[in-house]
Symmetry: C2
Subunit: 253 residues, 2 copies
Amino acid sequence: MSQTVDRALSILPLLAEGPADLGQVADRLGVHKSTALRLLRTLHEHGLVYRQSDQRYRLGARLFALAQEAMENLDVREIAHPHLVRLNESCGHTVHLAVYEENEVLYIDKVESRYPVRMYSRIGKPVAITVAAVAKLLLADLPEHERRAVAEKLDYPTYTARSTPNAGAFLRELEKVREQGWATDLGGHEESINCVAAPIRGADGRVVAAMSVSAPNVVVTADELLTLLPLVRRTADAISGEYSGRTPVNYPA
Amino acid sequence: MSQTVDRALSILPLLAEGPADLGQVADRLGVHKSTALRLLRTLHEHGLVYRQSDQRYRLGARLFALAQEAMENLDVREIAHPHLVRLNESCGHTVHLAVYEENEVLYIDKVESRYPVRMYSRIGKPVAITVAAVAKLLLADLPEHERRAVAEKLDYPTYTARSTPNAGAFLRELEKVREQGWATDLGGHEESINCVAAPIRGADGRVVAAMSVSAPNVVVTADELLTLLPLVRRTADAISGEYSGRTPVNYPA
DNA sequence: CAGCGGTGTTGCACTGTCTGCAACATTCAT
DNA sequence: ATGAATGTTGCAGACAGTGCAACACCGCTG
C-alpha cells in the first residue's frame, strides 16, 4: 500500500538470508543504488539494520529487542508459563505453547528437560502446521469457511509416512479434533516423536493458544504418552481459567 | 532520511509498549489517521504488525522469525555455542555470550544450568552496559576517542553500591580491563551476583564478542568464582582460535 | 428506534518527498 | 599509476504520500 515502506521492509527478509552489500540490495529490490542507500540508512537509524565492518548490511540489534518486547506482551504466555513448568516437572517431557496468527502457527514458549540450550532455536519459528498437534487444535477452532480456505492454501509436505497427505484428510482430522477437544501427532513430523495437545480457551470459549507434551518413542511409547492426556488437559484448563479471569490468581497482600 | 519509512518504523517501538488502536498510533506519530492506516497496512502486509480481535494493532509474528534468522546468521554465536555448553557442563554456572553494536551490548547466547526456561527472557535484551563484565571488555576495545564518546553519553544508574558511578570511573575501569585482558562484575548489577568475563578476538586481534560466567554469592564466593578465570580465558581463546580460522575444525570426511 | 459519538475506511486534489540520474569520492587490485 | 568496483552526494522532475472531507460502521443512550 505504501511503496517506499514496502520496499524498505522487503529489505529485512532479504538480509535475514545473510549479509548483503548496497549493490545486491538495490538489485534485488529493483531500484537504483541511491534509493536503496536511503532506505538502508533509514532502517539503520532505527537500529533494524546494522553495518558490519566490511560495509555489508546485516539485520540489527533492535530487532531482537522488539521481538523480545512483543513476546513479553503476550499475556497468555505469561500466565501459562508457570503451569508449563509445573507440568514439565511432573512428567519430565518437553512442553510447548503455541498460537495461531495469519496462516501460521508458532511456538511462543517451550520447556525442555534435557537440552535446555536448543530452546530458542524453535521459539518464534513457524510450526509444521499440517501435522503438529497444537496446530490442529488452533486451526480446528477457526470458523468453517476460514478453516477450509486455510487448508486449501497449505502445502502438505510428507515428513513421514504418517504425515497428513492433503487438504481433505486434514479437514477430516480437524473435524475429529474439534469434537474430541484434544489432538495428537503420532510420528507425523518426525518418525520417532509423539505429541499430545490440549487447547487453551479465552472467556468466550474460543481457542487462544494450545499446549502440548512431546516425547520420543525411545523414552515412552505413544500409548504411554497418551496416559498423560488427562494431566495435559487439566493443565490447559487451569491456564484457560486463569486467562479468562475465571480463576483469579491470588496476589500476595 | 526517508520520511515515510521513518514514520512507519517509529510505529514498531510504539507498539512494543503494548497494543494500540489507529487513533493512538496516528496521534503519537503526529499524522492524520488515514496516513497511519496506510503505514499500518504496509507493516501488516509484511507481517510485522498484527491486528488482534479487538481491532487493535500488535507487533506481529514475522518479527520473531526475522530476529531468529538474524540470530542464526551470527557466526560467532554458532562457533561459540558448543564451547559455552562445555564450560557450563564443567562448572555448572550460567554462561553468557555478548556482542557490542551501536552503543549497546547485548547477549546473543546464554546457557543456564538451573532455570533453563528463563533463558530467552534475556537474550536480545540490552545489557547493563556500565557494570556488566562483558560490556567492559567490549567497550575497552573501542578506539580511545570512541570509547570516550560512548562513556560520556551513557547513564550511570546506581543498581547497587558497587555500580560504576560515572564516566570517569568507567573509563578508568576500562583502561584496567584493557590491560589485564579480562573483566569482572562483583555485585555491580545485582548485589549478590558476580561475573568473570573474557574476550573473544577475531583474526585481527579486535574483540568481536565477550563471554562470562555468572553465579550468585550463595553458591560460590567471588573469590571462588575467580578461580574459574583461567578456564574462562581458555574457553574464550579456543573460540577466538576457531573464529579467526587459526584452529580449523575438523569436519568428518 | 432514532440519534449520537466514536471508530475505521475510501477517493481525491495537491504538494512535498522520493526517485533515478550523473558526477564525484573512495577503496582496492593490478 | 591506472582502472574497476563500490559507496555517496545534489538536483530537477515526477509520482507517491499526505491530509481533508465525506462515508460507513459499530455500540450507546435517551
